[in-house]
Symmetry: none
Subunit: 124 residues, 4 copies
DNA sequence: GTGGTCTAGACCACG
DNA sequence: GTGGTCTAGACCACA
């Protein structure tokens, strides 16, 4: 029922990532209010501070607008920023390592197409 | 110049992974000696204790043998153990998340080829 | 288009300050009516309660009079009170920090003229 | 003895500003370690979390480098970044309001030079 | 020794 | 109702 937390990453990071995923998937549209800190905290049985930390990180990323006393709202343009930024980050930081691991473990054929040429694109 | 450390992972983990990679890639064959703690520490400008921790973890994984006064050596069978264990770990823990991210960012075609059926295999 | 709110200060404070500025600048003369809560709220797309809070603060400062059914009016003597009080507050609370910042950033000559002796006056 | 905190700003902000001032004033040189979170917390009788928050903000500003297990260090180039960034921020955000207030309160002659022309420079 | 994460709970300002 | 700040204290990973 209540979400389970991955031990290898701080909870606030996982909350942040969850919101990002919701924006990317269109479950949170631009202008929509984020679920309130208190609600998320109660639902997930987490300390409000932890949720707050995630939200402030989202604000720092420029994905969210604060309206005093009202809550936080998905900024217009947030999805575009995310698509561009996360792609960039993923392709330059995460994928190279993952790709190397796949090759190393001999999983290329199983997970990627038969060739591996397409797997390490330029991120121009 | 000297290798740089990824801030998102402990240094000892990165050293450990580096050795694992060398074993998988055949750069370190079974029976080969690991570079000495001292050397690695000096080359990488890292605290020897940190290197030691990495090596002890490798020992705990059953991948290397300690020979008193001589150093540590890649155990016979190490590569097989690794292939099996790391594959298992990768497919159950790392890949599902990576795969979800790829889909979310619309990178599936670019990185995985057109079909995605092959991308979430059983881990039996 | 509509005025934007500074995130570093509460909205009701900014409304209050705006009225104060109008009084000091002579745009609102003594005896003049303040714009109605309703109008301000509508124009600035702000909750009427927020405007009310600003006005009540002005009343508390002895700058305006409430006349039931008519609205709020700039009190006679308001400008003098302001000049004295705000000067005092500014010189003792705000200016010292601003002045230190100016020196620290090497902006003294640009902003204050060559000498700095005049910059930290007695607030008697 | 122990520093006193300004009530109008969060403590972590004031700690952050204090470090910034020390860098600008040359009390903390590039490469120098920041005083440890625990020390500051003890000296200032503040919760370590509060200090940590300030430090993480400094990290986010790109002023500080983290070395795992060792502490935080003033980044090379920090002072330049600060001079440029803080100047920009001050001239565009803080000074215009302060300057308007000075004029409004009739303090221009006392605080600035006789003329006020130099007081509102372009920030090109 | 260093920083980092989390909790439980209090209290505040804002709308 | 909203977010924000702070505390006291526990516990962890890292070097």
């Amino acid at each position: 029922m209540d979400p389970e937390w991955n031990d290898s990453q701080p909870i606030y990071r996982q909350i942040r990532d969850r919101v990002v995923a919701m924006i990317l998937d269109g479950l949170l549209k631009e202008g929509d209010p984020l679920p309130s800190v208190r609600n998320v905290a109660a639902d997930s049985r987490v300390n409000p501070l932890t949720v707050l930390k995630a939200y402030q990180q989202l604000e720092g990323d420029g994905l969210v607008d604060k309206k005093r006393g009202l809550g936080m709202f998905v900024k217009s343009g947030a999805r575009d920023i995310l698509l561009r930024g996360e792609r960039q980050r993923f392709l330059t930081e995460q994928w190279p390592e993952v790709h190397a691991t796949i090759l190393r473990l001999g999983l290329a054929e199983q997970l990627l197409g038969s060739g591996s040429g397409r797997a390490a694109p330029k991120e121009g």
